[in-house]
Assembly symmetry: C2
Homo-oligomer: 150 residues x 2
Amino acid sequence: MKEILREIGMIARALDSISNIEFKEFDLTKGQYLYLVRICENPGIIQEQLLELIKVDRSTATRAIQKLETNGFVEKKEDLNNKKIKKLFPTEKGKAVYPFIIRENDHSNLIALDGFSEKEAETAFSLLQRIRKNVEKDWELVKKGNKRTY
Amino acid sequence: MKEILREIGMIARALDSISNIEFKEFDLTKGQYLYLVRICENPGIIQEQLLELIKVDRSTATRAIQKLETNGFVEKKEDLNNKKIKKLFPTEKGKAVYPFIIRENDHSNLIALDGFSEKEAETAFSLLQRIRKNVEKDWELVKKGNKRTY
DNA sequence: ATTATTCAGTTGCATATACAGTAAAAATAT
DNA sequence: ATATTTTTACTGTATATGCAACTGAATAAT
């Protein structure tokens, strides 16, 4: 059995660790960049959708967004038709750090794909996308309390 | 730019989340399975090597291992020639849960690679391995305090 | 129309994570 | 041989993470 999980875990932790260190200079604490980029790219997104994009727990998302709001990176806006939801938008401060996050992420991407041909990079992306789609089904099930059988 | 990082992050978080939920029945708390499998597969490994295998901070490893030890899954043994290091071994209890961890991980692997041909799975693994090797260089640098320039 | 169910967001509590700094042993340099 | 640097493990403190349980709003079921 080819242990792709372990490779993915190692890569994810290493890259996340690097990002967290590098984003401290923008006063973003651990993990916050994940939320901020996605809010910048999807202005008006609600927490529930955001957490699905990141694959993180509801409570974790609540507090990460709360902190981002406290520190002036994003703001919550009420919806006129639905009192339940809160739409998320980046502030000017949030928009200002966005390019730095992208630049860093792009660099990590480049490093990750060092030595890859155009075609190989393309293949890696499409295979990873398929893996992600496979995995997110189970994630949603298990998070809803269902049990996997195997 | 193909955003492979985000895919990898999503996959890693989703799978880790599932594992943590599933391993609670063996009294393994968040993340502990990562350490335990590797100690089972590399009996006598020391903390410093283990953390490189997982890509986690020294202090995190210390406490994770401490907890595994407290809960009777692993034990530390002094080395006769080197007073600095502590070799890690699984206890009987640790060895007993190992197959369950493997079974779960194998299942997740299978789910992740659902719809993949033999060849595609092979390709995914080898590309991921290359990505991991690229990324771990930067990780080691940054963790040592070096700054990346880009 | 009323009741039940799902959805979206939050909070209490327990726990993991990591940076910075410490200490002691080992390896290296002089 | 001694001084310096590196290696290995650990601690203090701050912060993130997630499960379980809860709220109120929206939707579905009867």
